[in-house]
Amino acid sequence: MLIGLRLWGLFLAQALSREMEYRLHLWLSFLIDVVWYAVQVGLFEVIYLHTPTVAGWSRAEMAVFLGTLFVVDALNMALFSTNFWRIPQYVLTGELDFFLLKPVSPFFLVFLRYPSVASFLNLAVALTVLGYAFSLTSPASVLAAVAYPIFIVNGLLCMLSFQALIGALAIRILAAEGIQQTFHILYQFGMKPDSIYSPILRRILLYVFPMGLVASVPAQVVLGRASEEVVLAGLVIPPLLLLVSRFLFLRALRYYTGASA
């Protein structure tokens, strides 16, 4: 654990020196997510001009949902996303060989090798949005406030798990350029509170394809809207999903042949 943290610290230092070389790129990358936040906030701000609630969520509650979504997304972008986008390239060029040869877990290296500095700046913006949201409405209880970070981490684990599953697929089918987009397209289901969906789809988004756990469940927990079933699902499913996806990812590596050689 400690070695992993020290190693990641080195990765971050390298990423920082790399990004400082291309400062315009750093700021433009930062701007991409800021624009994305603005689009999401803009949509709901306009909707709330014409109605007091959407699927039972008031404007303040929706602000908490969006703040949560932005925080989980920024953490994912900062830690895993850049790495996830590189996986097909690793496979095609044989760069994955270098990860497999090192005395560190390949799962750790593949998903944490390249942190995104710009996304840490986005995290600051996301936390500001969340802070603003909590100035509009408070957590339901002290317990909810304490549990909230745990559910945020679990949301992040869900994101990592989905990316690991798609990464495993990329390793198996080799010519998988563009497959990463699948994750970002399906992620759209998690970008809205799950109460907008039909009961069947809500179940699917909780148990089968748990995109609802990314931001919707953490926001429901902190606002005191989550049922016991949802709380339990939010606590249990993400670690299990990570274990399964990690297992499948490492298993997929057995089929990797170092194509570039």
Binding site: Y22, I32, G42, L43, V46, L49, V54, L186, L201
Partner: protein, 271 residues
């Protein structure tokens, strides 16, 4: 060979290239449209309280659903793609010299390729948008007047040209900048909101609505979808048309200036 024949040949080559990437395209474009339309329709169903509200900002749900499906479809068709982005890569790698040595103009040649790409996109996106509406709202009676579709068609073409020009202008910045893909991404994300894909621009507060009317983005989704869904009165179309053409001319001029100045800085060195 006449001027038109030259660019028709380029368009044919572009069509082959677009079909070459069809599996990848079908998968990502298909999923994008189906998931995009489905999520949006669920959101608007919730906004309408699952049928409890007859109208939202004066718009009945059937009209809103038709608008959302058409707007996603419009942006799917008019959205710039591979062709415009490739230009930046050609400038960066020096491959642009291939065009400079040929008796063709770069802008129209790229446009011919982009048209081919959209010819492949259109039927797929149309079919998938219909599938998404069918899956999400199988009970919804959607009446689409053929005359409204015909009125929207020219705006769709203008929207495509506008988006192409914006994308090409960004790619031409590669004469000065190493990497312009971030600008393309920023443009694409902004367009979700600014083009009216996520909601009709008529819902915006009055001041923002006035500003959006003078910007070119509405022609990419709001205007074509608004015409089909009946949100834009037919008598206002001439004014929209004039403004759209003015924006086309303005952007063409702007892109030509960027190209001219950029080319002075360009050096293509073969290996």
């Amino acid at each position: 060979m006449s001027y038109l024949q030259v660019y028709a040949s380029i368009a044919r080559v572009g069509l082959s290239a677009a079909l070459m990437y069809r599996t990848n395209f079908l998968f990502t474009a298909g999923l994008t449209v189906i998931v995009g339309v489905t999520v949006q329709l669920f959101l608007w169903l919730a906004v309408y309280g699952w049928g409890q509200r007859a109208t939202f900002a004066g718009v009945p749900f059937a009209q809103m659903a038709l608008y959302i499906a058409c707007a996603t479809l419009s942006l799917g068709i008019t959205r710039g793609g591979r062709v415009e982005r490739m230009v930046a890569e050609e400038i960066r790698t020096g491959e642009l010299v291939r065009y400079l040595l040929k008796p063709i103009a770069h802008g129209p040649a790229t446009f011919a390729m982009a048209v081919s790409e959209r010819i492949v996109t259109f039927p797929v996106v149309l079919l998938l948008a219909l599938v998404a509406v069918g899956i999400t709202l199988p009970w919804l009676p959607l009446h689409v007047g053929i005359e409204r579709v015909l009125l929207a068609a020219p705006f769709l073409v203008i929207g495509m040209a506008l988006n192409f020009l914006m994308g090409l202008g960004i790619s031409y910045l590669a004469f000065w900048m190493d990497e312009v893909w971030t600008l393309h991404v920023i443009k694409d994300i902004s367009l979700w909101f600014l083009s009216g894909q996520l909601m009709p621009l008529s819902l915006l507060p009055y001041e923002l609505r006035i500003v959006s009317e003078w910007l070119p983005f509405q022609y990419l989704a709001y205007v074509p979808a608004g015409i089909v869904a009946g949100l834009i009165p037919v008598e206002e179309l001439p004014l929209f048309g004039l403004r759209a053409i003015a924006w086309c001319l303005l952007l063409m001029g702007g892109v030509a200036v960027v190209w001219r100045y950029g080319l002075r800085r360009f050096g293509g060195y073969g290996g």
